[in-house]
């Protein structure tokens, strides 16, 4: 028996359950809706940093003892600044402290006249004294742990202590040091002295020098050693630029001469950027990028892009790890720029043109020192300078290419490699794959839907519709596998047969229909609505005939080898896994989607419309074309849109049935790389937070928006249609 107390509590319990349920349902509903929104916002959150503008800001200013600063640098981690003074004093400044101060000071023991960092190693410096003697100095920042505290004690060494190289009287010099070989180029006006040291080891003197002198045809005042010590780049004030091949110094060869400024012009600033293929040459407020490229006529310098500034430039500071730079103008403003993307990223006043500047190796800090000891540290936020909207979609002239191109090439084994992130080849591939798939699927699915909904016997329709719809559930990995490993070899071996099917099938079907119409009407009437089944055997035999005829057609029309014929006659090369295979396989994946929705739309056309038309004397075909299809056309349109959405985002079929090469070629016999396949291939290998990673997220976002747009259009159209059917 229920006690009175329990009875009294019951309504309260019931209303409690009621409201708890309401909250849980509302919470769960909100959670699901939130999760859906989260996808969109998370993708956006990952992509956003790419489009956040770069910035350059003062972090701190501080005082150091006044001195004649010959060179300034920042350590790899950004913790230390390095100041080389004319007195030979070298100071390490602890930058990460609230009020930076000198943490250690030592002296190289001679007065320093000039300093030039070695290439391509960082932390090595060539110091030249007043007599023109060059010594190499290196700074290192060893990390140790004392009482579990990370301690860095910067150290100074003269790695080749006994070696004093003579650069007296030189207008300019460059010292290249990598993997046991050092190359010193000393420019003395109209000739260059090139000295190569072999078997170079730190702690030992530079040994086995081999010197050569290269006589020049004009007077130059700047010299750079090119990539891997193979080139010599020379420039003079009047803008004459020369390139020598010094792979074998004794047989140095002039490769190219170019005039980089107008006859009466003057070079104000010039610097090489990372990789040393490119020079930035400034004249007034104009900065131009020149690089070496090779074509059938040999090497030449090409002016590939320019930057313009309001004030004349006084200094170019190249980035260490990227192809970016800071251009300093006469007003003391630093301009952050990036060559490949042709972007001017940020500007900020940093000091006086006469100050000394240093950019940290990671490009995140800029240190400035004035002669009076005033120092300023700037932070640079510039994570993705290589990516701009135009860099993603426009043609870009990369170093070493002879023309601007659209190129997607995200990684390579080579260190000098610059990733190329043009989305055009991927967009092209995506649309190409979708186009060929739709070319095959749309007519097949729509025609199939028309027949099934309008002509087919109901008992057959009951089987055919779910039968075709089951195919929508077929895993695409299975379709992709069949396309790549079964269909592609068959098509490759029987290309002419496959092409002849396209010809034989319509003609054969017309013939079949004609013959059918000759049969007695009493006989044929029984098969009304079963044509779909009647046609199966003829179609299979036609395909068989086409395959039987294939080899003969091959001999007749294609000289025994259709692939060679296409290449020679039409210039179409043939990949085994190509757009034709993808079109067929992905088309097949899309057919059930389009078929199902279009069939619903046609089948749903109100019966009285059809009956009315027939009653007025129209034939079934006329009724179909003039009444049914017209009414159902929005539904068929939305079916095609949804099919297109599916074709655009399909991954596995494209991944397995194409070679995944990001090329831009409409040729049906070549492959492509789509957004989706590209993500599947590259994302697992991509470094989190890198430009590459964010661009892959961007492509996911593009896919998301693209398909979402297609589907929304389709859905809206479908809802309108439903309302219209309702009103009819």
């Amino acid at each position: 028996m229920v006690t009175e107390k329990e009875l009294a509590a019951l309504p309260r319990r019931r209303s409690l359950i009621n409201s708890v349920t309401r909250y849980i349902v509302a919470l769960g509903g909100a959670a699901v809706i939130g999760a859906i929104a989260l996808i969109f916002f998370y993708l956006l959150w990952v992509i956003a940093p790419v489009f956040v503008p770069a910035s350059l800001q003062v972090e701190k200013t501080f005082e150091m003892p006044a001195g004649d600063v010959r060179h300034l640098d920042v350590s790899e981690s950004g913790e230390f600044g390095l100041r080389i003074l004319s007195t030979g004093d070298v100071e390490f400044i602890a930058l990460d402290q609230e009020q930076p101060e000198i943490s250690s000071r030592s002296s190289v023991g001679f007065a320093v006249e000039r300093v030039k960092p070695l290439t391509p190693m960082s932390n090595y410096y060539a110091l030249v004294d007043a007599e023109g003697t060059l010594r190499v100095m290196s700074a290192s920042y060893p990390v140790s742990f004392e009482d579990d505290q990370r301690v860095v004690r910067p150290r100074l060494t003269l790695p080749f202590e006994d070696s004093e190289l003579d650069v007296s009287g030189a207008l300019d010099f460059d010292l290249y040091f990598e993997s046991g070989t050092a190359l010193l180029a000393v420019l003395r006006g109209d000739h260059v002295e090139l000295t190569q040291y072999r078997d170079v080891e730190e702690g030992f003197a530079l040994e086995m020098p081999r010197s050569t002198q290269i006589d020049l045809d004009a007077v130059y005042d700047r010299v750079w050693i090119g990539p891997r010590g193979q080139w010599l780049i020379l420039l003079n004030e009047s803008g004459r630029l020369e390139l020598y091949d010094v792979k074998r110094p004794r047989r140095a060869k002039l490769l190219s001469t170019t005039q980089v400024v107008p006859e009466d012009g003057r070079v104000d600033v010039a610097e090489v950027i990372l990789g040393r293929y490119s020079l930035l040459i400034g004249q007034g407020g104009d900065l131009q990028q020149w690089f070496v490229l090779r074509d059938e006529y040999g090497y030449r310098f090409e002016n590939v892009r320019g930057f313009e500034y309001d004030k004349p430039l006084v200094k170019i500071i190249p980035e260490h790890r990227r192809k970016g730079f800071i251009a300093l103008d006469a007003g003391g403003t630093a301009h952050l720029g990036y060559t490949t993307s042709n972007a001017q990223l940020a500007s900020h006043p940093v000091g006086l043109p006469g100050d000394t500047y240093a950019l940290s190796p990671r490009g995140k800090q800029l240190l400035a020192a004035a002669p009076d000891g005033d120092m300023r540290l700037f932070v640079i936020d510039n994570e993705h300078p290589d990516i701009t909207w135009s860099a993603l979609w426009d043609k870009i002239w990369y170093e070493g290419y002879d023309a601007p191109v659209h190129s997607w090439q995200s990684s390579s084994a080579d260190n000098d490699f610059e990733p190329k992130f043009s989305l055009m080849p991927l967009l092209f591939g995506t649309l190409k794959a979708a186009f060929y798939a739709m070319l095959f699927a749309t007519p097949l699915a729509l025609m199939g839907a028309i027949y099934t909904a309008y002509f087919m016997a109901p008992s057959m329709r009951k089987l055919v519709k779910p039968g075709i719809e089951i195919m929508a559930a077929l895993p695409t990995v299975v379709l992709g596998f069949l396309a790549g490993l079964w269909l592609a070899p068959i098509i490759e071996a029987n290309l002419s047969a496959v092409l002849s099917v396209i010809l034989v099938l319509p003609v054969g079907l017309m013939l079949l229909a004609w013959l059918w119409s000759l049969l007695p009407k009493d006989l044929t009437r029984r098969f009304d609505g079963w044509y779909g089944l009647v046609a199966v055997v003829p179609i299979i035999s036609m395909v068989a005939i086409a395959f039987e005829l294939g080899p003969h057609l091959e001999v007749q029309f294609f000289g025994g080898d259709s692939r060679a014929w296409f290449l020679n006659e039409l210039g179409l090369s043939y990949d085994q896994r190509n757009a034709l295979v993808v079109g067929l396989a992905m088309g097949l994946a899309v057919v059930p989607t389009i078929f199902s929705i279009a069939e619903d739309a046609i089948y749903g056309v109100p019966r009285h419309l059809v009956n009315g038309s027939l009653a007025l004397g129209a034939t079934p075909w006329q009724t179909l074309v003039r009444v049914v299809l017209l009414t159902a056309s929005p539904g068929m349109f939305s079916a095609v849109m949804i099919g297109l959405g599916r074709a655009v985002g399909e991954t596995m079929i494209v991944l397995m049935a194409t070679g995944n090469t990001p090329i831009m070629d409409l040729n049906i016999f070549e492959g492509m790389r789509t957004f989706a396949a590209n993500i599947a291939v590259e994302l697992p290998e991509s470094e989190v937070g890198s430009s590459h990673y964010r661009i892959l997220f961007l492509t996911a976002m593009v896919l998301f928006l693209l398909t979402f747009a297609f589907n929304t259009v389709a859905e809206v159209v479908r809802q309108r249609l439903r309302a219209r059917y309702g009103s009819l």
């Binding site: 769960g28 996808i39 075709i468 097949l588 596995m652 599947a680 896919l703």
Partner: protein
Amino acid sequence: MLSHNAGGVRSWFASGEPWVWMNAAAVALSIIAVVGLLGLIAVRGLAHFWPADVLEVTYQDRTGQRVTLGERVESEFIPIERYAEASVREDDDRAAGLDVVERTLYKVGNRRATPPDFMWIYSHDIVGTATPESVFVLERTEWGNAYGYLESLTDDGVVVATGADAAAAFLQRMDAATELREEIAALEGGELNRINYGLEQLRLEERRLVIEGRDTAAALADIDAQRQVLNADYQVAEEALRQLHGALARSSVTLRLAEGRTIDVKLSEIVRAWQPNLMSVLDKLGHYGASVALFLTDNPREANTEGGIFPAIFGTVLMVMLMSILVTPFGVIAAIYLREYARQGTFVRLIRIAVNNLAGVPSIVYGVFGLGFFVYFIGGTLDELFYPEALPSPTFGTPGLVWASLTLALLTVPVVVVSTEEGLTRIPRSLREGSMALGATKAETLFRVILPMASPSILTGVILAIARAAGEVAPLMLVGVVKLAPTLPLDGNFPFIHLERKFMHLGFHIYDVGFQSPNVEAARPLVFATALLLVLIIVGLNLTAIMLRNRLEQRYRGVES
């Protein structure tokens, strides 16, 4: 429809008859494609397990007459031009006068002794074929099948049987060897797995103590003691394993290959042995069944190109189960919210369209989200908070089972929502009103009236979601599948289900073996078999859903009338 008359072709075209035929042809083509695809997969997948007769083919070669043993795989005709290109013989006039030549692919096995294991032989080269009765097929753990005649059986280096006696003795030994192998597998998968897992846990425990500053001498000594125990266990288990391996390696057989060479094969390397040419159809059926069973229950071998697919089946099923546990409540609650609780208006309509459209968003997009948000963001945070001892090697901050299930749950949530909503819409308003009129609260109406009535459509939705999830591969490639998982995500070690582990998956298995394996020719039949299994599962699930939906429709017809 109009038949043609003397009016001729023009009026025939005007009647639309040819176009009707074209439309019918489209249906026919689709039917052919569906039936053809399923048939192709079924035939290729099922044929793989049939113990075909082994033929002894005598054929002409550049070097003279040769013999080989092998199973016939397929025949084809190729144009004489391609034959001429491929032919290495200058003086080849045997194919003269032919337009096409026939060639047959034989699986000749013996990959180690006489590579490669597949060989094309031209029909005009064949001198004769025979089906020798005594020929043996040995399925080996490495190097694929061996075909040959049994010469002798050796125990510990001593020949114990030769000729006809050897066969019987060998098959008897094989039974014993199979038992030994099972014992070894049990030991490796059970005891040794437990010990290794325990040792790893102790190592992590020790690091955790150090990190948290609780590494007192007592605690460390305790860990050391546990480690001693485990190490002692390990010694015992290893000794047992060594003895089993020794017993297994005792016997070997000598096999004479087609051309007279002999090879020795240890019993430990043989998975199964049979004599196909001696088997009756019934025997073959039995063997066929055993092969299928082995395929379903065995681990893969030889870079997944041989052996079974058990871990892939297991991984797929477990992932899908986890996914349905996640997706069902959320999908159903969202649908109930949208249909029963939320105020119907523009906002809800927009959300409904958005949910609908999400079903059409490419699955790879979900994979990207799963990798970025679940794996790197949530997983990375979990690692920092709860598993600092394992860093820098990630625990949850790397693709794994739980992230794959979550990602697929998100992917399939629209399917469940749409299906459940459909079911809720069909429930007549009068029923709700009736329930309320009798004094039931809204929650009581929901639990007692609406949910029971909507349950078939909820089930339909879940089944469709499972079918979709089982066939998805693209997002899984980003969030958790691997080509070969060393351990199953479910085992005897606490907490039994290891959500962070990577797993194998049927769909990915198809992609991996079909496209990444070194010996595609040998792996192809296996891929067809895997594809067949996957297709069967998915088609089966879909048919179930369709049947449920049909039954549902009938049921409501009753309610509405």
